[in-house]
Amino acid sequence: MLHLQQFQKFYQRQLVLHVEEFTLPAGVYWLRGSNGSGKSTLLKALAGMISYEGNIVLEGRWNLRQHGVAYRSAVNFAEAEPLFPAFLTGRELIGLFTAAKKAPPQQEAFYVESMQLSAYVHEPIHTYSSGMLKKLALVLAFLGQPRCILLDEPLTTLEAESLPILYAWITQHHQQHGTLFLLSSHQAFEGGLLPPVQEILVAQQTLRYSA
């Protein structure tokens, strides 16, 4: 469960988001909103990557402000347009995430294999196409023991064959560990492949559940 209290985000003194109280019980959520509505900003703040005002609390225990280390251990994030140092290989990047997120040994093998990354995971990032980079970012977001996974535009640049694989990961993780997923996208998620998806609308600088 993720809880926001008096959450506010300003950019250059201009209010971008204001959420008085909002609770997301474990589940799969589709974050919708027009371009520039603040979806990515919200996800980055929830990932503990940018400053904000108010409180973000995970499962009633970990307040991001007070328990940042425990919170970030439990919340993973994949950016819409991931950027990584060009000289690192995919394998080295996985190593960094494995160490930081305290992932069990060989945990990545399943994800690398199923997303068909094995052929180029040893190559430097600068040789990757945008689709390959996206797949790698998604693998990284599943490493460790996350209680919440935030995926910003996970469908963008991803080939059609990889979508069912991603949906299967989400379904499996949610069913086995009760993981909360928050996915932002302009496209609708295909019914049947995912657990019931609830829509959250980001508009007029705030959040609300879609009717």
Binding site: G48, G68, L83, P85, L96
Partner: protein, 374 residues
Amino acid sequence: MRKPLTRALIKILATGFYRQHTGFLLALLVLVFSSFFYTNVLNQTHLTPDQQRQTALKLALSSVSEPWGILLLFSLFWLYTVKSRHYLAARLQAADLQFLRYSSNALSRGQQLQSWSLVQLVISAPLLIVGLYAMAVGVAYGYWLVPILLPVYLLTLTYWCAAYYTRLLNEQLLIPPVQTDWLARLRSWPKPLFSLFFYELLAHQRVPFALTKVVSLLSLGLLFYVFADSHTDQRLLNLLSLTSALAQVVVLYQAHAFEQSYVRFARNFPYSAWHQFGQQVVLYSILLLPELVVLLAISPFPQGLRAMGVLLSVTLFFRTLFYPLNQRMTPYLRLVFGLFMSFLLLNLFGSTNLLIGGSGVATGVLFYRYREQE
């Protein structure tokens, strides 16, 4: 200037060039160009006004009258142009400028050449100023060779660069990654999070890094040589540290830009503020290793150790100033130069502990408070 392509290129590339090289250009201005324009010599009461003027213009006069001076001036122009050419060629490979490969080349070759020439001229503005000054001095003192050759030389260099950029975009040329084999050897080396910027310097920022080290170590050597009688004076060692910290400004900017773009993902890592701060300390201890070793080698151990403390804490302070200011280079440089002057004053009064402690505390506060700022 009214052409949209020229306007866009100047805005993106010339501005980017100046932003990225502000530190070096300022250092160049202070160390080289200021003497070139006017060399102030003390105790010249025995000279006539005309002799005084000639002494003050000695460097500029040499650059138009002496063969070695002319060679030096032309070499400086050549080096600056090659440096800017490398910068622009590398930028044209970047993802954010790929649109030029399917937009700018719709214009005629002549129009493109014209736009690129203007961009190169804007980038060469410091050379134009120095060149015009040298020409004026040459004309005033009757040395005609440089005033005649220099415009031709500058225009040739400008055309050489413009033709290169046009060719890169029209023939869709990609510059292959430099020294891939050399980099491949680094692949087996461990790359913990703190070391990523060090590898970035080795992979993509070798020239600025090498120049920073040259400037930093040269200034250490020069000051040490000038103040030959004060080698055990803590204030001299601190002065060396402060100068060396100032010389790192370009690398510090690169570090911030790299962290904001390519290591942004690490903000989601479960590392405490202390852990992250420790990583910065380790990184800069490695980057400053040559200077730290020199400081320790040239001074008695306790003084050397304190000078090392000054260098590390002030460099870290200069680095963390980027967090609240982000990549706004002009206020940053103003602040850094102001702080540098204040630190020099503090040093004159022998406040080494205050320098180390104050910088350390300020670094910690800035880092803790602003590290998540975008």
